[in-house]
Structure formats: structure tokens, C-alpha cells
Symmetry: C2
DNA sequence: TGCACCATGTAATTAGTTACATGATTAC
DNA sequence: GTAATCATGTAACTAATTACATGGTGCA
């Protein structure tokens, strides 16, 4: 109902994080990077204007918290009841399947025009990123295992993390194979 | 060198397809859908303006081909030598890692706020899309197997397709598991 | 002295989608 | 007759990034 102009997923990423606890714009960005980075991303240039919009729409409240003197005031945003409602209503409309855009694969598809060596480097970099993401997620997995089994988020977080580990294992394996194939070409 | 404003991958998707053979804007869109859809996407609203820009920069040439009378003329675009050079130079700058945006996972991450049943439907839809993509790619795999083994593109296309099959197998498996877990929650 | 981090935000730009507009042909 | 496909494009809009601007704190 609440005629939100149009469901922008960024809006809900923010609302969802604020539903956990109040945060500043800076915190939100950090949180996205630390906990959502394997499936989500946001930039300051998107977060700050969006916070203002959410505030105008009454979905979040702001409080300027003075910190240790001299430091800039921290704007802390809290989700309102209207925001809670909006968040829950978001789930009613199914997610739009994202149109994929994998530049590395585009290059590989056009491999015929690539100077020698380039694709091997591309794939290698891809593998390295996949491996790094994988080790990071393995750590997260351990952290989750230590959480209280009754935590209401645990099931969901485990699913999200296992998505990541399975995905990056596959990407790592594919990259290794692809590197080998490309090397054969000389 | 050729000071291209900034490397826009869409530009190279188009240039790469035109390097294979001359095509119309309509053809390009179809080609992207039929052959690149598991890792790339383009819309008319992006392709047509981009074709004009590429033409202005001398990277492609146009010829209005009259067809059966009454039909609109088909604008056929051909890559120029400058375009060929540009395409090859593109490979010099490494691909920018795409920032991920998976709305289904965002919803799952915030699963605590979801009304019952919603996430199961989300994941189910995700699995169905993965399965569909997988069967499509299996067919493509068969088609590739029948191609001339000496075709210069074959190695690259096989790698791209195997990326897809391995990816979607993983996504399918994960979805099946996730559906089961979510069902347990009631 | 300099770097990393804390902290907020705006401006300019690009990327990219969706909706609109038009109209013929072909196959059912 | 009606739906799908062929075919081209523009206009309006939204999403989102990058670069810019500012300045303090704490640590090595």
C-alpha cells in the first residue's frame, strides 16, 4: 500500500540494517562491506541521499549525537514504525532477477581478439578474488557456528553464507581449469 | 591511446559482436539474449544510442539496407579498422570486478522480517531460473561439440559455457538445500 | 610526518531501464 | 483476427558511481 515511488532495493538494504540497530551512514557502508559484500554493495554517494529520502518519507528518524568534542556530530538513524511496516511489505513483491554483467566473461567470449596472455591474467585475478572471498566466508562460517543457536537470524545467515562458499568454490574450481586451458593455447 | 571517453563495456559487447559480422541493432539485442544472456544483458534503450556514438567516433560504419518494400530499412552496422583497433586495445585495461547485487540474497539475509512462505517462494523461483538456464546451456554445449574443432572461437566459447553450467549446477544445488531448510522452519 | 580511519555530504556524470511511438509481416 | 516477430528509435527517469570537499583523531 504505502505508495513508495518504486521499490528500490538499496532502500531496503538500509532499512534492514537499521532494523537491527540504529546506525550512521558511515556505519551502514561499513556493515555492507563487512557482511554483505559477497552479494551486495553500496556507495556513500547512494547511501547519504537515500537516508535523506527515507527521512523525508518518515521511515527513519535522525538524531545528531555529539561525540568527543571537535569530532563531527554523528547522525544516527533509527527505523520508525512506518519503516518497519515498509520493510515487511517489501517482501510482498517478488525480487527482480538481476541482469548479469560479468566483464571477465565478456572478454573471454571475445577471446579471439585478445592479445596473448591477457585472458590468463584476467582469469587468474578472478581466481584470486574468488579464493580471497572464500577464505573470508569460511571465517564467517566459524563465527556463525559460535553464535547462540536460538538467534533468530542464524538460519538465514547460514544460508546466505553457504551460498557464498558454494559459489566461490565453484568459481575457484572453474578458474583453475580455465587457466590451465588457456595456458595450453600458448 | 585513442582517447575513448572511458571504457564502457557495452561498447565492447557491441564491437565484439560486429567483429564477427555486420548486424543491425535488433540483431545485436537478439544475439546478446541468445548467446550471452547467462553473463550479459543489454536493452534497446542502451544499444541504439551507443550505436550512434560508436558511429560518430568512426568505430563502426552504417548502411541502410532496403528490404522487401514496405518494411523499415534495416540499418546494418559494420566494424571499421579503427573499431577493430579499439576492440583489441580494450583488453589492455583489466576488467573492473562487478559489484554484486543479488536481491534474493538480500531478502534472505533479512529473512527475520519476512512473512511466512515468502522466502520459500523466492528460493524456488531462483531454483527454477537456475534449472532453466542450466538446460539451455546443456543444449548449447551439444551445439558447440558439433562445431569444427578448428574454429578459432571454440576454446573460448567452451570456457564461457562451462562457467555457466558449473555456476548453475551450484545454484540449483544450493537452492534445493535452501528450500529444504526453509521448509523446516514451518 | 604521514597514513589510516572516522565522518559527512554534494556535484557531476554515466549507465541503464522502461515506457512510448510506429507500423509492417508472418504464422496460427 | 490476433499474437508474435521484425525493426527503429526517443524521452523520461532512476540508479549509482566517482570525484570533490572538509577536517579531526590516533598511531607508528
Amino acid at each position: 500500500m504505502s505508495n513508495s515511488a518504486r521499490a528500490n532495493p538499496t532502500e531496503f538494504a538500509i532499512l534492514g540494517l537499521l532494523a537491527e540497530r540504529p546506525r550512521s551512514g558511515y556505519d551502514i557502508k561499513k556493515e555492507v562491506e563487512e557482511r554483505l559484500s559477497h552479494f551486495w554493495s553500496e556507495s556513500y554517494g547512494h547511501i547519504y541521499p537515500m537516508l535523506r529520502r527515507l527521512h523525508q518519507r518518515g521511515l527513519i528518524a535522525v538524531s545528531a549525537v555529539e561525540q568527543t568534542p571537535g569530532r563531527p556530530a554523528r547522525n544516527t538513524y533509527t527505523i520508525t514504525d512506518a519503516g518497519q511496516t515498509e520493510l515487511r511489505e517489501w517482501f510482498a513483491t517478488p525480487p527482480s532477477p538481476s541482469r548479469p554483467r560479468n566483464e571477465m566473461l565478456l572478454r573471454l567470449f571475445m577471446g579471439r581478439y585478445a592479445p596473448p596472455g591477457v585472458l590468463q591474467r584476467d582469469v587468474q585475478a578472478y581466481r584470486e578474488r574468488s579464493s580471497a572471498a572464500l577464505s573470508r566466508l569460511r571465517e564467517v562460517e566459524k563465527e556463525l557456528a559460535e553464535l547462540d543457536a536460538a538467534a533468530p537470524d542464524l538460519v538465514y545467515w547460514k544460508l546466505v553464507v553457504s551460498f557464498g562458499t558454494q559459489l566461490f568454490e565453484t568459481l575457484e574450481a572453474w578458474s583453475t581449469m580455465a587457466e590451465r586451458e588457456l595456458k595450453k593455447l600458448g
